[in-house]
């Protein structure tokens, strides 16, 4: 067995049928010439034979059906969507990129706030009159929705104010 220590592993693989044809032939020739390796082969074959016998005799009464059923169930089991999503996230966002998620979320929130503010600006484009005092004169308040226009209209009073301009001025718009 001098210098044949690495051959033992090859013999195990040979017994398991894992070697290629050329490797098997080379090993077989070596074992014919090497008494140590031949002995190792005999030992391993005996061990394998013993183990097979024991396993076969012990496994006989074991009912494997529930085990295979469970395996089948696991194979057929539909994965929940969040599991798929998590796997997808792990693929797209490796740990190094995941660190960017925090600032990205901040940026998204900022964008959301800006959009909300823009939308609110559009919704509140109407001017709102909080207080009004026309000192006894008539006043009208108009809100026109298409153009979002707020109009405060001050009517001429009945007591002859602004006589200079009254003659040709209309009393008020036709809105």
């Amino acid at each position: 067995m001098n210098g044949c220590e690495d051959k033992v592993a090859s013999i195990e693989r040979w017994l398991d049928g894992e070697l290629s044809g050329a490797e098997s032939e080379s090993l077989r020739v070596h074992m014919v010439a090497c008494a140590g390796c031949s002995e190792a082969r005999r030992r391993l074959e005996k061990l394998q034979s013993t183990l097979t016998d024991v396993l076969l005799s012990e496994a006989q009464p074991v009912d494997f059906m529930p085990f295979w059923r469970a395996v089948q169930l696991r194979i057929n089991e539909k994965r929940p969507w969040y599991q798929d999503a998590l796997d997808w996230m792990r693929g797209v966002l490796p740990a190094s990129r995941l660190a960017w998620v925090v600032p990205a979320v901040i940026a998204l929130l900022l964008a959301g706030v800006s959009l909300e503010s823009y939308w609110r600006g559009g919704r509140n484009a109407f001017a709102t009159v909080e207080s009004i005092d026309a000192y006894g004169r008539n006043v009208a308040l108009l809100r026109e929705y298409d153009t979002k226009t707020t109009v405060i209209w001050l009517y001429q009073d009945q007591e002859g104010e602004n006589e200079a301009a009254e003659e040709t001025a209309p009393s008020g718009p036709a809105f």
Binding site: I106, G121, I152, P173
Partner: protein, 155 residues
Amino acid sequence: MKLLKKPPLRVLLFSLVAMLAVAVTGTAQTQPQNIEVRIGAILASNQNDEFDARLKGLEKQLRVLKYRSYRLLTDKSENIPRNGNKVFEIPGGRSLMVTPQEFQDNRIALQVRLTDGKKPLLDTTVRIANKGNFILGGPPHEGGVLVLSISATVQ
């Protein structure tokens, strides 16, 4: 376990800039330095069908009033400091004192006082959107009526 390692410097810097942006945006919303108030004085009448080309931007709003003719008489704008006021001279010897008040939710509260000489005609407080306007009209002028477009922009 990689996540527990020290985050990259770039990520920290980005987060810092984002947080600063939030802070600056918040303070800018509550602390305007000046308000630019613009007053356009317009003569609306039914004497002809003329529409002043300079009023193109206000055309849709003015058409609400149903006059046939609109002519821009004066167009003035002034920067008014917060809590300050400015008096605008209006055609016909009238004047308009504008006092910007609070700025909240992107809207500016303006106190507007229209006087004819010493006689007060109207005193109102109107809240308008930043860069928005409202129309104040009615005083007779040169065979028509005076229409004022009052707008405000935060500086």
